[in-house]
Amino acid sequence: MFTPHTPQEIEEMLKVIGVDSVEDLFAKVPEKYRFPDLDLPEAMTEMEIAQELNEISSANATTDDFISFLGAGAYRHYIPAAVDMILRRGEFYTAYTPYQPEVSQGTLQAIFEFQSLMTELTGMDVSNASHYDGATAAAEAANLAYHFFRGKRKKILVSRSVNPQYRETIRTYMQGLENVKVLGDDINDEKLSELEAFLAQIDNDTALVVVQYPDFFGRIIDYTKLVEIAHTQGALVAFAFNPTALGILKPPGEFDADIAVGDGQPLGIPLSFGGPYLGIFTIKDKFVRKLAGRLVGETVDTEGKRAYVLTLTAREQHIRREKSTSNICTNQGLMALAATVYLSVLGKNGFKQVSNLCYQKAHYAAEQISALEGFELAFPDQAFFHEFVIKTPQPVNEINLHLQDHWFLGGYDLAHDYPELENHMLIAVTEMISKQDIDDFVAVLAEVTND
């Protein structure tokens, strides 16, 4: 399909090689298994597959068709046109990993700027060039802490109000390491707001404490005391943050977090059914040599001109092999570029605007919904950002089916992950939702209770 060889060229090439046919090149492949018949559909032309894809995609209903209040780890935001225009440049998306700095300054400078934006956003010292997503970044934080204590501290304490998928991923990553226990998220704290039971678990066997900010329920929790206690016990603290929130909220660095990880999807990356997204990984200076993944540093070339290179590569798999801190190789280069362009286009002013719009609209929605009979805020006294939990008069899945008929995507059903939160819906509101949308949503919700 994309092979350029003419019959005459093939003949010429075979002659140079000194074989009679292309098949002769595969003589070493065991005959018994050679040239299997593949049961694949016949090849389509570009025109045919384009039509087919149109048809397939029309079997979906999207967040453009619905008015969506779904969040829970993936958020629908406006993406300025400039972002994708840059991503579509072949110079960026068809480039390889920048191992050869002389011909990769574009990618290297973009990552360097990404690292700069991430440290500024989080208030941390150092950012790497990215991880796969927020969940794997959280798992790599556990990995870093484990190695930082050379395996001597065995506990990774993860708050129950950390995204359930992040918690699962941390468990998966940790299962191969000797005697490591991932704890904390099994504490059945009735209100999920009292940190006391969780804090009591932090001890001198704890390598890392993981919290989310704002947490999975959207709540803005003051972790000052938690960080103090953890540090007193010698443990590290990782924040899993939402980047949009950091437009108006105090960053993890100001809480004295050791590691701050997040998913950069809200920064100009489409929902795309869950990926590819962007794992953000930032740390305090002192962990830089334990940091997994790629890092870009500034230097000069032989003529003294400013240049960028991948640096501290001695940490990485292709040099240290089994002694490296992680096996990460390919990461999310192009997604990091998307976030860099997004933040550059929005700038200081635009990013604060979007953060504030999310906050304001979510608060309006929370007020309107909780005023409905039978609906109430699950955590009424708690500050929140752009997501909040509503206790519903009926099971969430029933309400959502009703909402779907009116072209609304209701919030996430927390009963999936929290048995104690049956009839609790996690609602996300971004700048994409208008006041009218919220009012219409509330009107449909009101019908539900009247049914």
């Binding site: 399909m1 000194g18 998928q165 991923t169 105090k250 200081k348 719009l357 500050a383």
Partner: protein
């Protein structure tokens, strides 16, 4: 000229993008949590577009030129793939939408699972891993869990040939295995005698790349796999070099138990300057219960009038979740499009032309560059970037000089078992004219190496920057740009 950073370009109070004003009554953020300072750049949209356009021009790319990068399969990235992944019907779906509203997505994922199974000969595929190394990690975890479930915890040793990718040993130790390196024999195959000596009751598995990183098809592959199986171990296949095998041999057929695919290599999804990749994992029937989920399945069979209804399931003894949601869906759509455009003959054509190109180029350059393993190669080959009559010139110098001739250098100093290695993978999408031009450049450089070695030591001359001071970068660590104080 050096392109300033976004912070150097920033002008205080310059306004760019504007959001609409709030249409709801506003309230204040609790004082304890208010952010005091956030110093993002202040730029116009034109500033931003010009900046990123300018720096993009400092990059080498497939769209701009030839990348003979061994083990990386830098083939052409068809443009329809990009359109496909951006279709609003796909790109604007939320991962937690009710499954009845995303049947199109699930159909694509199900088909891709089926196709990858058919191409590789594996029983089941999970699409969740985010990249090749992530898929490898899945493989190592499955090996670990398999032995654990079988109460065979003494199996702690993973064998890795010395020609393997660095991710293999890194992955194994990340999963808590002991790594034992296995030297290759003089033909570049796994050494059967040495392997035999390691086949004991502590053997957990072997990680094997075939064709290996020398570009050679391991002549003993069937015996190697049998030996490991007889000793109670599992065989993991590194799928980085699958491009050579499409329609030629199915790894599952010869007994590999697990393998990851690199969709960003074999199936033409772009490398993106270092990701996103995608690393689905295929396994034999006995290991299907350990795969990471969620995996797409048919919940309700279809009939003449109705399509099947798709949903997700989690394998019974799954190693667990590897990341949030279901894998790099946008990348999966691209690979789906690519496979659909090839069909069975097209698949085999890819491998045949990749191998034809590699053997042709090997013949064209082997007079000038020592070839340590003189055999028919698969999709890539390794030469020594060190000429007997130019002792001061190294693989690095040759690589840098190639840039002056307009080419991206091959992978160098890898595999580690060949001194001064230059690892060359042409891929099937390059024409004879491109290969001839590249061979000509290598010949000219060999001549320069003998006659003017300093020219090579100082190369490149024509790139946006010259050789960079990597020692300074690591010593004076500068990891983010100057950011103005507020």
């Amino acid at each position: 000229m050096t392109e300033p950073t976004i912070y150097e370009l920033s002008q205080p109070d310059r306004k760019g993008f504007q959001f609409p004003k709030a249409d709801v009554p506003t309230t204040t953020v609790p004082a304890d949590f208010v952010r005091e300072e956030l110093q993002l750049p202040e730029l116009s949209e034109l500033d931003v577009i010009r900046h990123f356009t300018n720096i993009s021009k400092l990059n080498y790319s497939i769209d701009g030129g030839y990348y003979p990068l061994g083990s990386c399969t830098m083939k052409y990235n068809p443009k329809i793939n990009e359109e496909a992944a951006r279709l609003s019907g796909l790109a604007n779906t939320h991962p937690l939408q009710p499954i009845e509203t995303v049947q199109g997505n699930l159909y694509i994922m199900y088909q891709l699972q089926e196709w990858l199974q058919e191409i590789s000969g594996f029983y089941r595929v999970s699409l969740t891993p985010a990249a090749g190394a992530h898929g490898e990690l899945v493989g190592a975890m499955i090996i670990k869990k398999f032995h654990l479930v079988n109460n065979d915890e003494k199996r702690v040793k993973i064998l890795i040939p010395d020609s393997a990718h660095g991710t293999n040993p890194a992955t194994s130790s990340m999963s808590g295995f002991e790594v034992k390196s296995l030297p290759s024999d003089e033909r570049g195959n796994v050494d059967l005698e040495l392997l035999k000596a390691e086949c004991d009751e502590t053997l957990a598995g072997l990680m094997l790349t075939n064709p290996n990183t020398l570009g050679l098809f391991d002549e003993n592959v069937v015996d190697v796999i049998q030996m490991v199986h007889e000793a109670g171990g599992l065989v993991y296949g590194d799928g980085a070099n699958l491009n050579a095998l499409l329609g030629i041999l199915r790894p599952g057929d010869v007994g590999f138990d697990i393998m990851h695919f690199n969709l960003h290599k074999t199936f033409s999804t772009p490398h993106g300057g270092g990701g996103p990749g995608s690393g689905p994992v295929g396994v034999s029937e006995a290991l299907a219960e350990y795969l990471p989920g969620p995996i797409v399945t048919i919940i309700e069979e279809g009939d003449d009038d109705n399509p099947p209804f798709f949903g997700f399931y989690y394998p019974e003894n799954s190693i667990g979740r590897m990341k949030a949601f279901y894998g790099h869906f946008g990348v999966l759509v691209r690979a789906f499009t690519y496979i659909a455009m090839h069909g069975p003959e097209g698949m085999r054509d890819i491998a045949e032309k990749a191998v034809l190109n590699a053997n042709y180029l090997m013949k064209k350059v082997q007079d000038d560059y020592p070839l340590p393993y003189d055999r028919t190669c698969m999709h890539e080959f390794v030469v020594e970037g060190h000429l007997p009559d130019a002792p001061d010139v190294h693989a690095l110098d040759i690589s840098k000089r190639l840039m002056d001739y307009g080419f991206h250098p091959p992978t160098n100093y890898f595999p580690l078992i060949v001194p001064e290695a230059l690892m060359i993978e042409p891929t099937e999408t390059e024409s004879k004219q491109t290969l001839d031009a590249f061979a000509k450049a290598l010949k000219a450089i060999a001549k320069e190496a003998r006659e003017q070695p300093d020219l090579l030591h100082n190369a490149p001359f024509s790139t946006p920057v010259r050789r960079c001071d990597e020692v300074k970068a690591a010593r004076d660590l500068v990891l983010c740009c100057w950011i103005p104080e507020e």
